[in-house]
């Protein structure tokens, strides 16, 4: 049994209104939000949007701590890019130590950039934590349906995406097991010697690939046996439907997000 959760905004099984919300509306909101995050001209707009996001999450009773935890995985990238902005942007110099300079624009850009990334991560986390991968795939399939009229194989693509998503926990579990087994045979994954560590990747990658391909085969067979034929003609136990209230609230969210662009 899996004892630990992989938190990269992983789905959290709770009962919030965001969970109930039609995934298509969520995807559209996130797309709009993402675009706006990078369009907002000022820090105030970003702040206001962040506020809007937090209010939405709180109002729907989504626990904030797990959402914040998803920042753990990106803080390194954020820090590095922020520092780059900080030290390399030309402008009015504020501080100087030797050849390192910090300018006012550098400071401003650094902060703004970090803020954009952080808010983006929170937005995405809100999506992935409240929407299981298969529902996301359903939403994508539905939204991209118009493309199928110009011969884009939407159903197949989303099938592949869903299956891949379903496999992630499997792959992680398998790699854990293989690493453990090879460690028990003396493979050293903590060695200071870089060559040793690289060489010891093979005893992990090869069996991992073999097992994952094998499992994929088995899954495909099981799906076949259950009459799966791609997205064609499939119905749903729980069909997606958009209620008036949901639609209005989503429009409100989108409206505000876009509106902030003009206000600030």
């Amino acid at each position: 049994m899996v004892g630990r959760d992989i938190t990269i905004g992983q789905y959290l099984a709770r009962d919030t209104s965001l969970h109930e919300l039609d995934p298509r509306l969520k995807v559209i909101s996130v797309v709009v939000g993402t675009v706006m995050i990078f369009l907002y001209p000022s820090g105030w707009a970003l702040l206001a949007f962040a506020g809007l996001l937090v209010i939405t999450m709180v109002a729907s009773r989504l626990p904030l701590v797990p959402v914040l935890r998803s920042l753990r995985t990106v803080w390194v990238i954020v820090l590095i890019t922020a520092l780059l902005q900080l030290f390399l942007t030309p402008g009015e110099v504020l501080v100087r130590w030797g050849f390192v300079t910090i300018t006012d624009s550098g400071l401003y850009n650094g902060i703004i950039f970090s803020a954009r990334v952080v808010i983006l991560v929170l937005l995405l986390a809100a999506l992935t934590m409240t929407t299981p991968p298969l529902k996301l795939a359903d939403a994508l399939e539905s939204l991209l349906k118009p493309l199928s009229y110009i011969k884009v194989p939407v159903a197949r693509v989303t099938t592949v995406v869903s299956i891949t998503l379903m496999f992630i926990p499997n792959i992680l579990e398998q790699s854990r097991k293989v690493i453990r087994a090879q460690m028990a045979r003396g493979a050293d994954f903590e060695s200071a010697n870089v060559f040793r560590r690289v060489r010891d990747i093979i005893p992990v990658l090869v069996p991992l690939f073999v097992k994952v391909f094998h499992d994929a085969d088995e899954l495909a067979m099981a799906m076949d046996a259950r009459s799966y034929r791609g997205g064609v003609g499939r119905s749903r136990l729980d069909p997606m439907h958009i209620g008036m209230r949901e639609l209005l609230l989503t429009c409100l969210f989108i409206g505000l997000s876009v509106g902030l662009f003009f206000v600030f």
Partner: protein, 313 residues
């Protein structure tokens, strides 16, 4: 490979899974449930002269197999690893197509590509590894997967899911995540998923192999109940205990049928059982020793309970 003659295994699997149809489309409305009709053809699986060789293999995995399975009976399919039992199971629901001979499932020929969807609806299957057959995020979703593929209306799906879960005894797990359940529970979910198809036959391809004793017991009890309700159950296993309560036992060896009959006949001789690569029932081994000492056990005693009951009388 599966459902299509020859070809590369993985590629064909993916193609099949992605819905490349051989022939025309079938609409949701055309999918009907299988009525329990009096027509003999619909209620049995007939295997005639079945041979199957995996692509690239020099030997047949199955060789000239003749068998018959009827609805409402519990069959146990035994054999050592490599004897062909899984191969046979997969030939029944057209996951594999005969190299020679025929398999007629519920009146439909497995070699006929257009009939495959119907066959798969009437012959449901659960597999050995509880983890690699799960697709849903909740137990309900998982059980609904099959009916959803048939394009049934949501309220019909709901009904089927509820009754399948009820039958499998997992209704209380409806909203749980299947991957977090115990191995035994996962298999019950898999069986519920199969039952939601309202199949005529349920094929269990070693579904108990990886489970602990208590879970195995539960699954076998469920399978027995299902047989009592008119589903044809074909349970592939290498545990003889599970075969001792079957209506009929089929033993495969090197791709051929080595023995067919009631458990009391087929499983009674421990030496013969061992020759076939199976673990003989302890009681039969004791019985053999007893015979050497001059006491014969009456035929039909396969479990310790039966032995003790006889001893007391």
């Amino acid at each position: 490979m599966w459902g299509v003659r020859g070809g590369d295994g993985v590629r064909n699997r993916m193609t099949a899974a992605l819905g490349k149809r051989v022939g025309g489309e079938t609409r949701a409305e055309d999918r009907a449930t299988v009525p329990a009709g009096p027509d003999a053809g619909v209620d049995e699986i007939v295997v005639e002269g079945l041979s199957y060789a995996y692509p690239g293999a020099c030997e047949d995995a199955l060789s000239g197999v003749d068998l018959r399975f009827e609805r409402g009976r519990y069959y146990s399919l035994l054999g050592r690893n490599g004897s062909g039992k899984s191969t046979l199971a997969r030939c029944l629901n057209a996951l594999l197509v005969p190299t020679r001979g025929t398999v007629t499932s519920c009146g439909l020929d497995t070699c006929e590509p257009l009939d495959i969807p119907d066959i798969r609806q009437r012959l449901a299957m659960v597999f050995q590894d509880p983890d690699t057959q799960i697709v849903g995020i909740t137990v309900e979703d998982e059980v609904a997967f099959g009916p959803e593929n048939l394009g049934l209306a949501p309220d019909v799906i709901r009904e089927r899911v509820d009754s399948a879960m009820e039958l499998a005894g997992i209704a209380h797990l409806a909203k749980r995540q299947p991957l977090r359940l115990s191995q035994g529970q996962k298999q019950l979910v898999a069986i519920a998923g199969a039952l939601a198809m309202e199949p005529a036959f349920l094929i269990s391809d070693e579904s108990t192999s990886m489970l602990d004793h208590a879970s195995r017991r539960r699954i076998v009890d469920l399978l027995t109940t299902l047989a009592g309700r008119g589903v044809g159950v074909i349970h592939v296993t290498h545990f003889l205990e599970e075969a001792s309560t079957a209506d009929e036992v089929v033993v495969l060896e090197a791709g051929r049928v080595a023995a067919v009959g009631a458990p009391a006949q087929v499983l009674a001789d421990p030496s013969r059982v061992m020759e076939l690569g199976l673990d003989p029932l302890p009681v039969t081994q004791v019985g053999k020793e007893l015979a050497a000492l001059g006491h014969r056990l009456p035929g039909g005693i396969l479990t310790v309970e039966e032995l003790l009951a006889w001893l007391r009388s």
